[in-house]
Symmetry: none
Subunit: 428 residues, 2 copies
């Protein structure tokens, strides 16, 4: 603890809830990603509660062992928000009222037609010498503080406040001081397990430490994260990265649905918009998740017409004109029901494409012949209808997610004129 | 850092992957839950990579500030597994071959009919004086080390190895030394801002350290986390907690929707099931999220009949029989449209309750008269229809989430016979 390490970065997450069994410090993932982008690597992450004594301890230590310290949380108006106070104590500085900040906070409450509680004023007191970092999405400003060789950034805890603040006000400051260059790319795939992806590309893993491959897996989506560093220039880093990316892309082919960070729903949305096509969806076991994902994309009203969540058999018949005798004969979770639902919703909504999902998300409701995880996904268009039978593993939420991945990927493949990948799925 | 705090617990997670943008230390949630169960609270969590210098720094500090230290990870056979070595250095002890452990490791490879790699022997070298904690699911044993007033537990990183080891060998040791009891409760509220909740209960915040209140906020949901400790007994802790909980409950009244950890969609689901009522929903700007949340609850098919995502005006007219002239006159985002949608879906689905959401989730599509965040939520039942006009702040996803919170809360209030809370919302 005695010497100073000039290139060390520490993230200090502050909040008693982060020391309970319920919450993880997820902000640090975003911050690490951002820091990595311009060559900073994180050496330590510390999590401490809203406790002044412990906070003073952690701050003292962090300033001793890291030259760049990002402290997140504890900037709010309440009595247990102690971050500014603790830093002021350790740095032996005062807390000073910033009138600009106070004006902005007042304005925010005025706009919302809410009386400003007196506690809100606290957020306008900043550490002496700090630069205020405006908060476009909340009241508490961030702070940029320099103290000797230490650079300190105080950021608000809510991710939707932290992210725009970091991008607008912290990134440019850090970028100006970058000392190495890092290139990154994420290849997102669907339709293969982690072991399968790994077995296809393992022999390409680089030995040298300046280029790295990491797999990140969740059911329904395996991501290949590539990074390369160069002390010379960004383009050097990009060249190293590109060399490896090409080789991996050849192996994983059309299982890769994005290389630029987009989620599958964005990729499909852009394809639909580009081709001026429209989509309607009918969901049973996925319960609205497909519609939710599609409509998370801004501008999705350009191509997404309508969704229905038909949980009951009556709804399947009433809304989608699925023949009740079909449901009686084959059951609601069947090849035939999925097919009828996809046709039904496409016709109902007069859409170019109809997608349908019906299955058993569990944990209850499975039988020997129709176990939990059995999901039929159907795609209907003027070119014809196809149905895929799947057996997904995992929790209720994971089965819901995998069902929507499959549906989106079937549509992506249809839009791109690719054949549907069936490598690891059971076919009817 | 100079004084010793006898009741402090630190969790040290070791592994370079935990300092990338892709992985979080999730083991600490499990460990915290376990520790809380017998009265230990976690004061610090530290995350450090597989780097000897940094590891030595973190261990030295942790032994200085915490009496109980749980170190997780870095016990494996590879060159970057440095945990035992680092602890031995800091404690100034040797690493000693434990023949029992070596025999167990050999046996494990034999059973699997795999030749034991020479690197595996490393795992049989334990810190001098350590008690080996058998690993039933892997090769690396855990270690229990006492050094002065410090108790140190070394645990393997893979959760399926860590959990059984903790339960079988660590829990009983810690339980025998339990020195206090802890009770916890979470009051979840909706319909109020964080500042509002705090202003209502701040004067109840206990001064004494044995009872704690923490607020956890996200748009649409403010949680009050309560904890109480007692050195006497669990029931003493429960009594202290209950005393405070009662006072806070009186202040926050029916804004509290759960005290047992349930989410709003579970609370509403249980109410519907208990009253044998059914629900159908019509969503515009929330795009399926309401259906998704409702159907995340296992068994929701008991009461959830149907959902529609009516993004286009045509869909609103076709599916819900909303009068096109009403849409032409008032617009799709209007009091009148919400009302007609709620009635339309309830009639369509022949449900006891119909919920409808229509608004502008942004980021584009707002106007001066109808800004981003304007959302109308309507509830229809045989008792009548009510519509709430809201102006939500935040990102597209946050506006979607708040819209669904509002809808679920309106239904909760109707089911409980409570009036709709309008304290902070603009009314039409």
């Amino acid at each position: 603890m005695k010497k100073k390490f000039l290139d060390r970065v520490e993230i200090l997450a502050i909040g008693s809830e982060l020391l309970t069994p319920y919450y993880l410090d997820t902000n640090s993932l975003y911050l690490t990603q951002q820091l990595n982008d311009f060559g900073y690597e994180v050496s330590f992450k510390t999590i401490v509660g809203d406790d002044l004594e412990n906070l003073l301890l952690c701050i003292t230590l962090a300033l001793d062992r890291a030259s760049l310290l990002l402290a997140v949380g504890g900037l709010g108006p309440t009595a247990d928000d102690l971050t500014s106070l603790a830093f002021a104590k350790v740095l032996k500085r005062k807390l000073v009222l910033n009138k600009d900040v106070l004006r902005r906070i007042r304005l925010r409450f005025k706009k919302r037609k809410i009386a400003m509680p007196s506690s809100a004023i606290k957020q306008a007191y900043l550490i002496e010498g700090a630069v205020a970092l405006p908060n476009r999405r909340g009241t508490a400003p961030g702070q940029w503080v320099e103290a000797g060789t230490n650079k300190i950034v105080l950021l608000p805890g809510p991710p939707h406040e932290l992210k725009p603040m970091f991008e607008e006000f912290v990134r440019p400051r850090l970028e100006a001081q970058r000392y190495k260059h890092l290139a990154r790319k994420v290849l997102k795939t669907t339709g293969m397990t982690e072991s399968r992806v790994e077995s296809l590309i393992r022999d390409l893993y680089p030995r040298k430490g300046d280029v790295k491959v990491t797999l990140l897996a969740r059911p329904g989506q395996i991501e290949v994260h590539l990074s390369a560093v160069s002390v010379k220039s960004q383009s050097q880093a990009e060249i190293k990265l590109e060399r490896l990316r090409k080789k991996i892309s050849v192996r994983l082919r059309d299982h890769i649905f994005s290389e630029g960070g987009q989620e599958l729903e964005e990729v499909v949305g852009n394809l639909l918009r580009g081709k001026k096509k429209t989509l309607a969806v009918a969901e049973s076991c996925s319960g609205g998740l497909l519609g939710h994902r599609l409509t998370n994309v801004p501008g999705s009203s350009d191509y997404f017409l309508e969704g229905v969540v038909v949980y009951s058999n009556e709804a399947k018949t009433d809304v989608l004109a699925v023949d009740p005798s079909l449901l009686a004969k084959h059951g609601a979770v069947s090849f035939e029901a999925a097919l009828a639902m996809a046709r039904g919703i496409r016709q109902r909504a007069r859409a170019s494409y109809g997608l349908a999902i019906t299955g058993i998300a569990g944990p209850a409701g499975g039988t020997l012949r129709k176990p939990v995880g059995l999901v039929f996904v159907a795609l209907d268009s003027s070119e014809g209808t196809e149905v895929e039978k799947n057996l997904f593993l995992g929790s209720r939420r994971q089965i819901k997610f995998q069902s929507t991945q499959k549906a989106l990927d079937m549509l992506r493949r249809r839009l791109l004129g690719l054949s549907v990948f069936r490598g690891e799925k059971t076919k009817k």
